[in-house]
Amino acid sequence: MVKRSLILLFLLMTSAVHAELVIEVTQGKQSAIPVAVVPFSWQGSQPLPEDISGIITNDLASSGYFRTLPESNMISQPNNLSEVVYGDWANLRQDFVVIGSVELLPTGYAIQFHVLDVHQKMEILRHRVRGKASQLRDLAHYISDFIFEKITGVPGVFSTKLIYVTTNRERTRFNLNYADADGAREQLIYTSRDPVISPAWSPDGKKVAYVSFENGHSEIYFQELATGKRERVVAFEGSNSAPAFSPDGTKLAFVHSKLGNPDIYVMDLASRKIERMTNHYAIDTEPQWGVNGDSIYFTSSRAGGPQVYKLDTGNKAVTRVTYEGAYNARARLTADGRKLVYVHRSGDRFHIASQDLKSGLVHILTSETELDESPSVAPNGSMVIYAASEADRSILAAVSVDGDVKFRLPSKYGDVREPAWSPIFK
C-alpha cells in the first residue's frame, strides 16, 4: 500500500488536471450482485476532500459485476456493526452491505470498513487503512479492490492505472497520458507534435515503453514514471516499434524493419544484446509474450492477411493460432494465459474477439462500437479496454472477457487511442 502511494506521490507532474474520461456503463451482468455501500461516517467539521463511499460505489457499479443500491433507497445508514439490521437489507434484496467510518489522524486519515453478508447475517471482511489527505482516492480504490476480491474471488483492478494517447483532430499534437483505471486524475507524461504509439508497461509498473516519431521515424523509448527520465532504447535505421516487456521484465520484444521487412527481435535489457526471432518476407509485428516468457504471440501476413501466430522463443518454431476470418491481429493474453484477445474483422467491421487457447473457441466480444482496435487486458483478466470509433471520434471502451459487461470512457476532447492497462501494483 505504502509503495503504491509512493509511486503516485513521486510522479513528475502532480498538477491537478480534471479527468477527461468519464466512465459510463452501457451493459452490466445479468447476474450482477446487489450491494449497498452505506455513506461512511465522518465527524470532522470540514467535508472530506474525497467522497470515499461514493468512489467505492462507482468502482463497484462500473465494474459491471455489481448493482449498487442508491442512497435514497436505504432504510437506514448504519456506520457500526451494532447498528446493522440485516432484515432491512434483506427486504431491499441486497446480498452484501458495506459500512465504514473515516477518522482524522495527526498524519492523515484512517478508514475502517466492514463487508456484511446479508443472507448469512455476518461480517465477512473488516479492515482499516491509513493514508494522507492526498491519498484518499487511492484508499477508496484500495478498499474497492478488497471488497471486489472478497465477493467475486477475483483480484480487483480499481487501483490500477491506464496509459493512453490523446490527439487533436488535426493530428498535430500527441499526448501520452497516465490516469486511474476509472479515467480520473489524468496526467500528461509526454507530449509531442509527432506521433506517439504503442505504449506498454514494464511488469513492475515503474516505467513505460512507447514509440515516438520525434526524430522523423519510429523509435522506441523508455520513460520512468516516477522521475520522467526518458531513454532512447531502439533507434535503428528504418522502423522500430511494438515494444513488449517479457513477463520477468528482463527482455524487450520489438519490431524492426530496415527495408520494408518487419521482423520480431528480442533485446536482453541488461546486456542490450539483440536476437532476431523471425525472418520472413511477410509482415511480422505486434509481439506479445506468453505468460511464461517462453513464447511470443505475434501478427504475421505470411498467409496473406494478418493472422496471429505463436513463436517458441527456444527453437523459433512458429505455429498459427487464429483461423476464423481474414483479419486477426494485435493479440493480448489474459494473465492466466488461457485466452487470447485480438482485433478481428468480420465483414467490413472490426471488433474485439477472445479465443480460448485450449478449445480454440472464438467469441466476438464487441458489437456496438466501430473500428475497434488496440485491446489491452486488465491484469486480473476480467476486462479488455480498447479504442473504438464513435461519430468520427476515437474513444476508449471496455468489455469483460466474457462479453457480459460493457462500458465506455468517452473523452471531452480530441481522440483517445492506444490504451494500455497497468499491472497490479504490489
Binding site: 506521433p195 520494408g260 509482415i283
Partner: protein
C-alpha cells in the same frame, strides 16, 4: 476523376514523345491530338500542336510540359491491405524516376500511410510496405537507392478525417516528398 483523365491523356502524350516502342506512329499522332482536345481550349499550345504534327521541336516542348504535370502528382493511392502500385500511378512514378535519374543530387522521402481501419502496428508495417513498393518502382526505373528514404506513419497522419470509404481511400497512400538541399 477529371485529374485522372488528364493524367491519362498526358501520360499518352509523354509516352508518344519519349517511348517510341510504345506503339505505331499512327497511334501516336491520334493520341497527341486527343490529348490536346481534352485539354482546356484556352491553352495557347492547342494551336501549336495542330500545326506541329511533324515539328519535332514543339512535340518535345509538349512532352516536357506533360512530364512537369506528371511530376506534380506526388501522392499515390493503394487498396485496403494492399501494397501494390496501381496502374494509374505508374506514369507519374516513371516521371519521378526519370527526374531522379537525371538529377542525382535530388533526394526524396517516401512517406507511407494507411487508413485507420485495423491495428496501429500492422498499419505501420503496411505503410512501410507501400513506401517500399514505390521505392522499388523508382529504382527499377532509374532512381538510385541513395536518393530514396522510406518512412511509414501508419494510420497516424491521415490526409483527411472521416470514416467513409472515400476518406479511407485518400489515406491509403504514399507521398513522394522532395527534400530541399
Amino acid at each position: 476523376m477529371q485529374t485522372t483523365a488528364l493524367y491519362k491523356t498526358l501520360g499518352l502524350a509523354l509516352c508518344a514523345a519519349f517511348i517510341s516502342a510504345c506503339s505505331s506512329t499512327g497511334d501516336v499522332e491520334e493520341g497527341t491530338s486527343e490529348a490536346t482536345a481534352t485539354e482546356t481550349q484556352a491553352e495557347e499550345n492547342t494551336q501549336t500542336v495542330d500545326t506541329a504534327g511533324v515539328d519535332g521541336e514543339s512535340l518535345e516542348a509538349e512532352a516536357a510540359d506533360a512530364q512537369a504535370a506528371l511530376l506534380e502528382q506526388t501522392v499515390f493511392y493503394f487498396d485496403f491491405d494492399e501494397s501494390s502500385i496501381k496502374s494509374e500511378g505508374k506514369a507519374a512514378l516513371m516521371a519521378h524516376a526519370g527526374y531522379l535519374a537525371a538529377n542525382p543530387a535530388a533526394q526524396v522521402v517516401l512517406e507511407g500511410h494507411a487508413d485507420e481501419r485495423g491495428t496501429v502496428e500492422y498499419n505501420l508495417a503496411l505503410g512501410e510496405r507501400r513506401a517500399m513498393a514505390v521505392r522499388r518502382f523508382l529504382m527499377a526505373n532509374g532512381a538510385s537507392s541513395s536518393q530514396l528514404k522510406v518512412v511509414s506513419f501508419g494510420e497516424e497522419r491521415p490526409a483527411v478525417m472521416g470514416s467513409s470509404e472515400e476518406s479511407y481511400a485518400k489515406n491509403r497512400r504514399v507521398e513522394v516528398k522532395y527534400q530541399s538541399n
